[in-house]
């Protein structure tokens, strides 16, 4: 019998897209950023600054103040003062007006926010423009509406503000996470001390500028920049009533330990290693899109990324083949280019972590496949990567990589895939693809994950609660559930 050759599709067309880098002339970036405390930009007590760079070309974007304990203390005092004297006394409808104003200002300056988000974090402009910034504004709009309706959200439970909230956010969605934290806190009547991540502080500081412009009473929102030590100063400050943290599970555990025995309320949104499950009756071509969106969105720097793919054995070859072909059409490169699908890895440290896992995966015996795309010489980039023939006991399957790396396993029965999907310390999200509604409902009740997407992935909306099970954290952000994290009853 003649050897059958597999027909190959060729995506190396001579007709290529025109580069379309977004203009950066219209943005307004200062050389140096100060701390935003009590409605004013103030220099840090010790006068220390750190640099924030553009991960796509390793150039310095700005110097940013580093807050120490003295600065954090100042910020907490300002927040407490604003809470006691202004914010807690203001009628709720008035609070709502300020939040609406912030939302509108953010929409007006959406382009500038999008470009800065992309410059500072490396995410493609398509995502910052179409997802991060509009969603962030929507969070403010949504929670502004709740400000004077809390009694209706929790009937007969007399909801009351907590006081001062200390909020620490990650580098993967800098502006969006700031919105997720600040909007519900303000709507519930709290004041805020927020610390953005040290690699991506710029959009939070731009947010400080529009907060100033909005006329929000001084001290209601304070933004202090810095690294882990600054965060620790917030967590350990005695006059803070609530800590909200989004970030790694390791740091989350440290925070939980350090506030044990205090009266501080806590919500944690931590890591994940989501199961993305494709049944053989799924709409395969759309499922492949879902897989791509699930793991390569924001370079895989997504806590709810669908990083563990489970494909039913009967369609595994077809799904993998289609996935490989789809990888060839993904464009990796300049995050400011509108054509770019996958931008820059957020930092050198993160790129090293990803490379470490690629090495581990190969050593564990999994088959690594990367797309053939070219990547820029300068900056931190990683080709979209698949690991085939992985098993549940591989470290690359068990640990969160936080990069564009997908591990692929096959499964045979529904029971098997539920067991494997849940067999992980994390439980933030999951995805299910099948044409059969009953199968979806069966799985959604059995998967131990805070969010389960059916026949789609990575869909976010301010009205929808988001949060994890197990080591992915506790508490919910978004929707009515997100209010209760900032209230006492």
């Amino acid at each position: 019998m003649a050897k059958k050759t597999t027909p190959q599709l060729d995506f190396n067309s001579s007709w290529n897209y025109a580069p379309a880098p977004e203009d950066t002339k219209h943005i307004n970036l200062k050389k140096q950023y100060e701390l935003f405390i009590d409605g004013k930009f103030v220099k840090p007590a010790k006068g220390k600054y750190f640099e924030t760079i553009n991960p796509a070309n390793e150039e310095v974007l700005a110097k940013v103040a580093e807050a120490d304990e003295t600065d954090v203390n100042k910020a907490v005092k300002a927040a407490r003062n604003a809470y006691n004297n202004v914010w807690s006394k203001m009628p709720a409808a008035e609070r709502g007006k300020y939040i609406y104003r912030i939302a509108r200002l953010m929409q007006e300056r959406a382009r500038e926010f999008a470009v800065i988000e992309t410059l500072d974090g490396g995410k493609p402009i398509r995502e910052s423009r179409d997802i991060d910034v509009p969603l962030a504004a929507n969070h403010f709009f949504y929670y502004a509406g709740w400000a004077d309706k809390l009694a209706y959200a929790f009937p007969n439970r007399k909801p009351q503000a907590l006081g001062v909230a200390g909020q620490i956010i990650p580098w993967n969605f800098p502006l969006l996470m700031a919105a997720w934290k600040i909007a519900p806190a303000l709507a519930c009547g709290n004041t805020v001390v927020l610390k953005p991540a040290e690699t991506t502080p710029l959009t939070a500081l731009k947010l400080a500028e529009i907060i100033q412009e909005s006329g929000l009473p001084n001290g209601v929102v304070n933004i202090v920049t810095g690294a882990g030590k600054t965060g620790a100063a917030i967590v350990n400050h005695p006059d803070i009533d609530k800590i909200a943290f989004t970030g790694s599970t390791d740091v989350g555990k440290i925070i939980q330990k350090s506030i044990a025995g205090t009266n501080k309320k806590l919500t944690l949104e931590l890591g994940g290693k989501a199961a993305h499950i494709i049944f053989e009756d799924a709409p395969i071509d759309q499922a492949v899109e879902g897989i791509v969106n699930g793991i390569f969105f924001n370079q895989g720097h997504v806590c709810c990324a669908g990083s563990r793919l489970f494909v039913q054995e009967g369609v595994a070859d077809m799904v993998i083949r289609k996935l490989k072909d789809r990888l060839e059409t993904l464009i990796v490169g300049d995050p400011l280019d509108k054509n770019t699908d996958i931008g820059a890895i957020n930092s050198k440290g993160q790129l090293e972590t990803i490379h470490k896992y690629l090495k581990i995966g190969k050593e564990e015996g999994a088959d690594m496949y990367q797309s053939n795309c070219s990547i820029p010489k300068k900056g931190y980039f990683c080709r979209p990567t698949l690991f085939l023939n992985t098993s549940q006991s591989h470290r690359i399957v068990q640990e969160e990589i936080f990069g564009p790396v997908l591990t692929i396993q096959t499964f045979r029965t529904v029971e098997e895939v539920i067991e494997k999907a849940n067999n992980i310390p994390y439980g933030l999200s999951a995805g299910v693809w099948t044409d059969k509604g009953s199968k979806i409902f069966n799985l959604t009740t059995k998967l131990r994950a805070g969010v389960v997407w059916a026949n789609t992935y990575n869909k976010f909306d301010p009205t929808s609660p988001f949060g994890g099970y197990k080591e992915s954290g506790f508490g919910r952000e978004g929707g009515m559930h997100g209010l209760s994290a900032y209230l006492k009853f």
């Binding site: 599709l9 379309a20 009756d281 071509d285 759309q286």
Partner: protein, 303 residues
């Protein structure tokens, strides 16, 4: 016994998720196409057009004019290609063939009681043979949508296979009239049936029903073509027809082909636009790229 000897169960064809298809299509429209990329794309589009006139009022004179246009799109601008084909009713095939002799432009004829397809098998065969005998290089047939919607899939399969036989050497394009099929699942099912029955091309619409070609419908058909290619290595052509009247929309279709099927399909051998007004919009864009300014539509010949 059916013509194909197959009696297949088409009640379970691969699932299609409409929301996912629409999301994917939206992404095609965000690719940046300008300057050299745009000029290259626009010329490719011109070369993929089946310049079409399918009206009751068509005359020999009108068809002759259109045939001249197919080979002289806009002579003031050098370096333009011909269109891929002209598409006419069977009664006009002879005129078109004569007008286009010694050119690369093919003559396509609609057949099988176009556009409704509401006639007998015998008449459809005769219609096809008439067009082929008069020199048609390509036949654009319509499927019996009524039979399809009744679930009589093997009737449709058999019908297509029969017409394919009547075509002889002419390439067969099978029109689904997707605007009447109602769901993307049906579009996928029709694609499977047509490809199994021997279609050389699958085509969205007659242009007589709205909606005609849309990006989601075209994507579903391209995916069926891709699956067939994966399985067999055999290429099938695609022709969206009707409703694509702007250069910008046509460029989005090219992006879709490029990212779904790849380079091999980016030629008029495997991809066509069925359109009458598209050519002039493309020409206007090309003149704009060449001169820097938009010109009045009066500078572009209508037929």
């Amino acid at each position: 016994m059916t013509k194909t000897g197959i009696n297949r169960d088409y009640s379970h064809t691969p699932a299609v998720d409409q929301v996912g298809v629409e999301e994917r299509c939206a992404r095609f429209a965000t690719r940046s196409i300008k300057k050299e990329t745009k000029v290259q794309g626009l010329k490719l589009i011109l070369n993929m057009i089946d310049l079409t006139t399918l009206e009751g009022k068509d005359t020999e004179g009108k068809v002759k004019q259109m045939c001249y246009k197919a080979t002289h799109l806009h002579d003031i601008l050098p370096g333009l290609p011909n269109t891929a084909a002209v598409c006419v009713y069977p009664s006009m095939v002879k005129i078109a063939k004569e007008a286009l002799k010694n050119t690369s432009v093919k003559v396509a004829s609609v057949a099988t009681a176009f556009p409704s397809g509401q006639s007998t098998r015998e008449i459809k065969i005769a219609d096809t043979k008439f067009a082929v005998d008069h020199g048609a290089d390509e036949i654009d047939m319509v499927i019996s949508r009524g039979e399809f919607l009744k679930g009589n899939y093997n009737f449709v399969l058999d019908e297509i296979a029969t017409i394919k036989e009547a075509c002889g050497k002419a390439r067969l394009k099978v029109i689904f009239e997707t605007g009447e099929l109602s769901t993307l699942d049906n579009v996928r099912r029709a694609s499977e049936i047509a490809i199994d029955a021997g279609a050389d091309f699958i085509k969205t619409s007659t242009g007589k029903i709205s909606p005609a070609a849309t990006m989601p419908v075209t994507l579903v058909m391209l995916e069926a073509i891709r699956d067939h290619y994966y399985k067999t290595g055999v290429m099938i052509g695609m022709k969206p027809a009707g409703g694509i009247s702007t250069a910008k929309a046509a460029l989005h279709y090219l992006v879709m082909v490029k990212e779904t099927l790849g380079t091999a399909w980016l030629s008029n051998e495997w991809f066509r636009f069925g359109a009458s007004s598209l050519a002039n919009d493309v020409l206007m864009q090309l003149m704009k790229e060449a001169t820097g300014v938009y010109q009045s539509s009066d500078y572009f010949s209508k037929d």
